[in-house]
Symmetry: C2
Subunit: 372 residues, 2 copies
């Protein structure tokens, strides 16, 4: 992957090119082995994967471009996994890319028919409501949420690919300007960065031939939201529960088996709710789980050891693929200072795309295991 | 499918809703049988299939959204076919949708990094160059191209779903304003319409249970362009040749077996070049093939009997799915006045997405057979 950040002078194709070339050169791979490409982007425009591959002369192969809001990268990976799984291809490329720095106002556009969005139920508002309800139900304070940023910026300070590599203190988070109570600016992930990430998916017997480092896909699941009207429990992200528990079932594992998770910390409250939804602790206990250090590198489960969306950044279509790149590095012992010791099983999780107020539109979960 | 046309007052979700509901109600299908959705759109924004399905309360199923320029609909169908083929799902929905009437200037946007596009090598220019070269090589006249519009508008006059249902004369085509020599306006498909189309893909044993009318997928192939620099033969659409001949091979058929084709007549010259590329006639003979009536309803092969892009319209992401809907109607004998008699085998073809001047970015071809 490339270092996430702001590169308004570059093109989407150029960002993707760097990630794909990095992958090919890093593996010393004969590019002729790549039989198809799965691109992911939300706002990258038509034919993202073709435009990227044209830059490096890899043309004429089947290219498929996937859009699934924040879950786009996971969806592209899922499609690649399916195609290899059914034997259609042996070796395929997944590349996620997004360039948000060139958006005019710095905020994502609200579709014309999104009534809730036009009335203020945009992402910061939705997650602020979740946080307000959580505080009322469980007695958490705004500072408890802010600790998510402190942790993830600390983790990200060890990740050379992160957009934000400076750690921050609790005081700094709380002193940043208010966006939607109880969220200060530093409790919201940045939606203004650019990024690209690429991974290779291949049949297991081919993996041995192409590289001495590989990880195994144990579960892959994509789902969509229910978009129910009426009362919803704001402290229970149902779509994440459904996707994660389906993935546990596919992989034959439970929360106690997971050594590290890359999860969708778009806002601080989100990470805390996902601890609970994923079963790492009980309901209402997420903020204590964090405060007790259990989700830090070296804790019970290392959560967002890459820095997560909060520190690595969140160029939409590239996030899901970057999470999988992190799993590759961690489960093959190549993660440097942020290495999770004895990491054997890891999970990635992306969810997003608001429609109809508080429900997410798409969620993608993968579970990986160390191969050796 | 819905009648293609201009509906700027409606939303993308609403257009898709009508197509999906029409499918479900027309089949008297229990919607609970649908296990996943494959959406296709180029400019429809995030989560098109989720936004459509939310309108009719079909939520919580895996949704995948595909973008592949003009080949988006074919790509979504291909992905659905793969998933059913590998047994992941039994019954899945494909829905293509596009709303172009709400675009400001009426023309498709040129990406910032498309240097050729910014210098005038946009679609009408590219195809006009093809036509100029073809005239020089083979002695065709502008009127020979205009006959494609006359044929397709005649066919479309029998299609209640077509955007343009009035036949036009050769004189009317030639009298319409010049866009890019030798193309008058009526030799260019309309890129300003809206549309939606939906089809169901299921395992063959399930098809018998759900409906007494079904067709069989004999081949499905997606590929991308080579984007070569330097000299290219403008009268030979290489990407179409490659995709179509791969599909013939998969299906075990040749051009002599094809009863009808829905092909990508974005500009009149395109249809003539595809007769030759698909092997219905020799090189340089396409315009005579048309003039002799061989591509009319009742001719050697019925080409674009739906009206094609020229008459049915071309709302990008919905075109590939609408072509497949036409195959369903034709191969089950439900096409009314435009019915191809004794139709047994049909082919659909979409290609497009300009990058690097004259090469297309993506091409999708399917071959279908009557099941009875």
């Amino acid at each position: 992957m490339i270092r996430f950040g702001r590169h308004p002078e570059r093109s989407v194709a150029d960002l993707g090119r760097e990630a794909v070339l990095g992958l090919i050169q890093g593996m010393n791979l004969d590019r002729e082995r790549i039989q198809a490409a799965y691109g992911s982007s939300v706002f990258g425009g038509p034919l993202v994967s073709q435009r990227i591959l044209k830059e490096i002369g890899m043309t004429g192969i089947p290219c498929y471009n996937m859009e699934n809001a924040c879950a786009s990268g996971a969806t592209a990976f899922h499609m690649a996994w399916l195609a290899v799984g059914m034997g259609l291809y042996d070796v395929v490329l997944v590349v996620g890319v997004e360039q948000l720095s060139t958006f005019g106002g710095g905020a994502l556009p609200i579709p014309a028919d999104d009534i809730e969005g036009h009335h203020g139920i945009v992402m910061p508002g939705v997650y602020a409501m979740r946080a307000q309800r959580y505080m009322k139900e469980y007695g958490a304070k705004p500072e408890d949420f802010a600790l998510v940023t402190v942790k993830n910026r600390y983790h990200g300070s060890m990740n050379p690919y992160a957009q934000f590599q400076e750690p921050v203190t609790l005081e700094e988070v709380m002193a940043s300007r208010m966006v939607a109570e109880p969220f200060n600016l530093l409790q919201c992930c940045a939606g203004n960065g650019d990024g690209a990430a690429a991974v290779l998916v291949c049949a297991s017997e081919i993996a041995k031939e192409l590289s001495d480092k590989a990880i195994t896909v144990k579960a892959s699941h994509i789902t969509s939201g229910y978009f129910k009207g009426g009362y919803r429990d704001l402290t229970w992200p149902e779509i994440t529960y459904r996707a994660v528990h389906k993935a546990y079932e596919m992989a034959g594992v439970g929360p106690e088996d997971i050594d590290l998770v890359e999860l969708h910390d778009a806002f601080t409250i989100a990470e805390i709710l996902y601890y609970e939804t994923m079963g790492f602790c009980g309901r209402g206990e997420g903020y204590k789980f964090l405060k007790d250090g259990k989700s830090y590198l070296g804790g019970q489960v290392a959560v967002n050891v890459s820095g997560g969306l909060m520190s690595r950044g969140h160029p939409l279509g590239s996030t899901g693929v970057a999470q999988i790149a992190e799993m590759f590095w961690q489960l093959t012992g190549q993660a440097g200072k942020r290495q999770v010791q004895n990491a054997r099983i890891g999970m990635t999780h992306v969810t997003g795309g608001g429609i109809s107020g508080v429900d997410n539109g798409a969620c993608g979960v993968h579970i990986f295991a160390a191969t050796q």
